[in-house]
């Protein structure tokens, strides 16, 4: 009895202690495995079996199952697998080894910006060092040179950059064949060539590298991680938060910081505290540039923190020596001894005062939500609170700013602060009092203003609801039940905004397991491509053709221009054009026409040869769509494989191959897993197009002979127009027949069947 009482007390104390830990540490250390309450995931109650439940988890908390993974998760225990995913700390030596092929991923942010500068920055530096003249800088600002310095189009996903300068080599065949805009006469001249050579040589000597290389490694790591990472949920959440706090590589000022943004601001907080994530994004140069906070300054008549600081100084240094408000922009508000701006100084956009873009999106998109109960006045006040949150400039301007900062430090800092490339400028910060959502921020403060706003927003009930809603949309369904969102919002608030606790609540919600939710989400193009790689056990050797497909299906990565991020709902992904591309992707992926991805379909069957083609169909459908009810799909696909003379007909259809590279033959056997990943050329050279991909432009489709008519007739049954054409399914041939290419380079019947499965409606869902 006494023992039991003690145990009871101990348990109570432990519970209180955990609760306190959750409150005090924002849930940080509270989730050590031994203290966690056990998960209860009500999949049985929802009428699912264990395999279906595992498949659902893999479709939602991961980028789909890999071969055999459903069984692995079942064997490991569903609860344990989920806990491991939420902890996100499984060792992953294979992935780490692959990422080592992408050196840019390991650079510091400062090095990234220094080594991969914007092309204009290279020109400025070259001019500063006397390598080229001012006129030559102007002449070099011709699309072709800038593009060459960049290594290609600004957006590796897209053909043309924002100035409309086409990237000829990167253009798909359909565009290329029509000729790109002619290069300007200036650059066709000999002087143009000489200038180009001089600048490229300078860039090489200085160790600059084309920015496209950085972008290529950013894109490559994303797709490789998603396909291969053990900590799948960490990848899913990194993607989710990046999209939530979207920035875009279509923006010149943002581009150099993009990789660091994902790595340093998002990834580390993807399974953690919302408050920390919020601050990490608020301070990151990518966000500060993308939503213009870097250019937002106190209104001309507003007091600034620097002014306050100077007023407080007991003994002022002689006038003309110390900085005063406005010193950063000499002459604008009567600063000290304005140095005449150097004639070659880059033309910067002069700040026009307060810029509300970040403040507005912080409230509308990042935290409270559009109906979160704020006013336009709140937007203005928040913008005032964040004045001064800016970026240490890159390139030649940086030195000058650092000199000024050194001088400021002689006076005790004067409220200026730096942290990496983040810079808080006291001279830009509006130091008057503010009132935000009814809460007063006193006058005379600096960075604390913005931090107080983030505190306020992170724990606001509207933020809880907004984020709970978005997470429910990502993990449950496009229109999640209100009761679920309310519960998740409660968990968010109780846990101090801990993403992990909200995720635990999601997987324990009956709504997550309901019939309405399982398989109800349409995969995004990225999810579709990655899930195809995973489920087929494919190996990505060169991610570029795959990325090309993701773009074509409507999701160029890191390139959604609007701060909203990609919409996460079916209608955004499924329209006439994109759906056709999704079908074509499945078909071409299975036939290994998506180059750079090696698949070994026969090996998926684990050496067990199906007895018949029908058996093969059932086996592969089950492998590719684990946990799904496949009766209808198999029934419709059966005529396709049961055509008695399919292989024969295909063989006879001696199709003249127009796309020569497509006939290179299929990879048989295990792909070379150790092969280094192909990324971008590492040196300045004429822009190279993406590695050949057999996209829609890859083939003109020469006319086939008529001998396919027989098999076509047998397919007619599938179109549902004439059921009488159905031949009864009967075992014909076997694996060998299915896996033999009728002609070199032609898809095998198995590839065709798998292609139709991957392009089928079932595979579009998760």
């Amino acid at each position: 009895m006494r023992d039991r009482l003690l145990t009871g007390l101990g348990a109570a104390a432990f519970a209180l202690c955990s609760l306190w830990l959750v409150w005090s540490a924002g849930g940080h250390e509270a989730w050590a495995a031994d203290r966690r309450p056990a998960l209860h995931m009500p999949w049985k109650e929802a009428g699912l079996d264990q395999r279906q439940a595992a498949a659902h988890l893999l479709n939602r908390l991961a980028y789909g199952p890999r071969p055999g993974q459903v069984e692995e998760v079942v064997a490991r225990g569903l609860d344990r697998w989920v806990e491991e995913q939420i902890a996100g700390s499984l060792p992953d030596p294979n992935l780490q080894a692959r990422l080592r092929d992408m050196p840019a991923l390991f650079l510091s942010e400062a090095d990234m910006v220094r080594i991969y500068p914007n092309p204009n920055m290279i020109l400025q530096q070259a001019q500063k060092e006397g390598v080229i003249s001012k006129d030559e800088v102007a002449a070099a600002k011709e699309a072709k040179i800038l593009q060459q310095l960049r290594g290609g189009a600004k957006n590796p996903n897209l053909v043309a950059d924002s100035t409309g300068a086409p990237a000829p080599a990167a253009a798909p065949a359909s565009v290329r064949s029509n000729g790109a805009a002619p290069a300007s006469a200036a650059m066709e001249s000999r002087e143009g060539e000489a200038l180009r050579a001089k600048i490229l040589e300078f860039a090489r000597r200085r160790g600059y590298r084309p920015q496209r290389e950085l972008m290529a490694q950013l894109l490559a790591q994303k797709i490789v991680r998603a396909a291969e990472a053990q900590n799948q949920l960490a990848e899913v959440m990194t993607d989710f938060w990046f999209n939530h706090f979207n920035v875009s590589l279509t923006n010149d000022r943002t581009r150099p910081y993009l990789l660091s943004y994902e790595r340093d601001a998002i990834r580390g907080h993807a399974l953690g505290s919302m408050r920390e994530l919020l601050e990490a994004t608020a301070r990151h140069p990518a966000m500060l540039q993308y939503l213009d906070n870097a250019q937002s300054t106190a209104a001309p008549n507003a007091p600034t923190l620097l002014g306050d600081q100077l007023d407080r100084m007991p003994a002022r240094p002689p006038a003309g020596y110390y900085p005063r408000p406005g010193w950063w922009f000499p002459g604008r508000r009567g600063g000290f001894a304005p140095r005449p701006p150097a004639p070659q100084a880059p033309k910067r956009e002069k700040p026009h005062g307060l810029n509300e873009n970040y403040a507005r999106e912080l409230l509308e998109l990042h935290t409270l939500g559009v109906d979160g109960g704020y006013t336009q006045q709140d937007v203005i006040e928040v913008a005032r609170a964040f004045t001064g949150w800016t970026v240490l400039p890159a390139g030649p301007a940086r030195e000058q700013v650092e000199k000024r900062l050194d001088r400021v430090r002689q006076f005790g800092g004067l409220g200026f602060r730096t942290d990496g490339d983040f810079l808080f400028r006291a001279d830009m910060h509006d130091s008057a009092a503010k009132t935000i959502l009814g809460q007063r921020l006193p006058a005379g403060r600096g960075m604390e203003d913005g931090e107080a706003v983030l505190d306020l927003l992170a724990r606001h009930p509207s933020t809880a609801r907004h984020l709970a809603g978005k997470l429910a949309v990502r993990f449950v369904s496009d229109k999640p039940p209100r009761a679920l969102v309310d519960r998740l919002a409660g968990v968010y608030l109780q846990s101090g905004g801990d993403t992990r606790q909200v995720l635990r609540a999601i997987v324990q919600a009956p709504e997550f397991w309901s019939r309405d939710a399982v398989g109800a989400k349409i995969k995004s193009p990225f999810e579709l491509a990655v899930s195809a790689v995973r489920v087929s056990g494919a190996h990505i050797e060169d991610p570029r053709p795959l990325l090309d497909w993701v773009s074509r299906m409507g999701q160029p990565l890191y390139a959604y221009q609007a701060p909203t991020g990609y919409p996460d709902r079916a209608e955004a992904w499924v329209n006439t054009g994109s759906l056709l591309n999704r079908m074509n992707f499945g078909l071409q992926f299975a036939a290994e026409k998506v180059r750079g991805v090696a698949i070994d379909l026969p090996s998926l069957c684990d050496g067990r040869e199906p007895e018949s083609r029908e058996a093969a169909l059932r086996t592969y459908a089950a492998l590719l769509l684990p946990g799904r009810d496949l009766g209808a799909t198999i029934k419709m696909l059966t005529p396709m494989v049961s055509a008695p003379n399919l292989a024969h007909h295909v063989d006879q259809a001696a199709v003249p191959q127009d796309g020569a590279p497509a006939a290179a033959g299929k990879v048989v056997g295990k792909p070379a897993a150790e092969k280094a990943i192909a990324v971008e050329p590492a040196r300045f050279s004429a822009p190279a197009g993406p590695a050949g991909s057999a996209g829609p432009g890859g083939s003109g489709g020469a006319g086939d002979g008529g001998s396919m008519a027989g098999s076509m007739a047998s397919m007619a049954g599938m179109a549902g127009t004439d059921a009488a054409d159905h031949e009864p399914a009967r075992p014909v041939g076997g694996m060998a027949e299915l896996t033999a290419a009728p002609k070199p380079g032609m898809p095998t019947p198995l590839e065709q069947v798998v292609g139709v499965i991957l392009g089928s409606p079932e595979f579009q869902r998760r």
């Binding site: 054009g577 056709l580 086939d704 065709q752």
Partner: protein, 420 residues
């Protein structure tokens, strides 16, 4: 337009088994029965000139002394006679037209072509990215607007959609068409089919497999979109896209824009339900060696004008349905720079073409380029907000009444441009 499959669907049992079925299908069935909503609708064709076109070079004030001072190398004289075809054509209204746009002159004379001058965005940004973003969302100064104005226009049309209701002839969906209304981005219509390189027959068979699977998909959106997709493929399959012959001897430039407009004409003539089309013209960021009657600007202008001219001729009897407008994110400095080019400025001009256009006129208010008139002492000011133009075009041509939904926050009314 009747296709084989629509006949099958409309005449057979397919509609019944599909239950409610996609709205498009019903409409197609109605179209098969006679003139219905699939009948010809008005089409708005938009061309975004990326990089910021120099409006002062495109449509300069004629023989302006200030212009010659500001642009000693770039200013051109108006032609004194027809023989001086390589000079600026005098439009007779105080403005000239750069010779690169010569092929638009007949359309000007026929009063189908209007120019709006000193047009642009009220936002002061000189960043391509920001200015394009603002023009495409239609909300200057606000980056968070989730949709583009053309997409909102599609949404406000208020009737059923065809798969090709909104088409962008670009590799990626432009910001103008972001949003809830379905839109298609495609560069080559010939590739709008199920494809398996090197195995056309297999692709055709797989296509039938897909069609069957999608017709029976349990998920409603996949089912209806799948059906529409195969209809769309059918619609296009009746046209030999690769060998499309433009009508009336129209000759499109072999350029991305010429290609885009040729395919837009094809879509219009194929009656696939196109109502909003988007195309791009690149290379207008002329910082260097802009040139006069040859050079960068001339080549870009010729490509644009020749493409438009071919498009208009190709349309033939369909011209009445079509209204075309150009747009560009901002203009360029009134002064030429040290390298024979111009830098990022503010106001520019745009072209509007259509049979109902109040053409042969330069609309808007041109403040001149005297130093005192310039914006920030350097650029042509914006005296007409681009939203006043697009409200007019979408309003009168597409019948969109709700300007406040099309351009949230815009209260400036419309610039009269169309005779209706």
């Amino acid at each position: 337009m009747l296709t084989r499959r629509i006949f099958i669907k409309a005449g057979g049992m397919a509609l019944v088994t599909l239950g409610a079925g996609p709205r498009f299908l019903h409409r197609a069935a109605q179209a098969a029965a006679g003139p219905g909503p699939n009948a010809r609708r008005k089409v708005l064709v938009t061309i975004f000139q990326r990089g910021a076109m120099d409006g002062i070079m495109a449509v300069p004030p004629v023989d302006d002394a200030t212009l010659k001072q500001l642009r000693p190398r770039l200013a051109m004289s108006a032609a004194r006679s027809a023989a001086e075809a390589q000079q600026v054509a005098d439009l007779g209204v105080g403005f000239g037209l750069h010779p690169g746009f010569a092929s638009l002159l007949p359309l000007w004379k026929e009063r189908r072509l209007a120019i709006v001058h000193a047009v642009g965005s009220p936002d002061p940004t000189r960043s391509h990215f920001d200015a394009q973003d603002y023009m495409e969302t239609g909300t200057p100064g606000r980056k968070g607007t989730p949709s583009g104005w053309l997409n909102r226009a599609v949404g406000l049309l208020g009737h059923d959609a065809s798969p090709f209701q909104a088409v962008s002839m670009t590799p990626a969906m432009p910001r103008s068409l972001y949003g809830d209304a379905p839109a298609v981005a495609v560069t080559n219509l010939a590739e709008f089919r199920v494809k398996l390189p090197g195995a056309d027959q297999m692709a055709a068979a797989a296509g039938q497999g897909f069609e069957a699977l999608y017709e029976r998909a349990s998920q409603g959106l996949l089912r209806s979109t799948g059906t529409e997709t195969f209809h769309a493929i059918d619609m296009l399959s009746t046209t030999d896209i690769a060998h499309y012959q433009p009508a009336n001897g129209a000759s499109y430039p072999k350029s991305p824009l010429g290609d885009a407009l040729r395919q837009i004409a094809l879509l219009i003539k194929s009656d696939v339900g196109l109502e909003v089309a988007f195309a791009e013209s690149g290379g207008w960021d002329t910082h260097v060696q802009q040139g006069t009657n040859n050079g960068t600007f001339f080549r870009r202008a010729s490509d644009l004008a020749d493409s438009i001219r071919a498009f208009w001729g190709d349309l033939g009897s369909r011209q009445d349905e079509v209204l075309l407008t150009t747009m560009t994110e901002f203009g360029r400095t009134a002064r030429e720079n040290g390298s024979g080019g111009t830098d990022h400025g503010h106001g520019s001009c745009l072209f509007v073409l259509g049979n109902a256009v109040d053409g042969g006129k330069v609309h808007g208010s041109f403040p001149g380029i005297n130093p005192g008139a310039l914006y920030e002492g350097r650029d042509l000011p914006v005296t007409t907000d681009f939203r006043a133009v697009f409200c007019e075009l979408a309003g009168k041509h597409l019948g969109i009444r709700n300007d406040a939904s099309l351009f949230p926050g815009w209260t400036g009314g419309r610039l009269p441009l169309l005779r209706v």
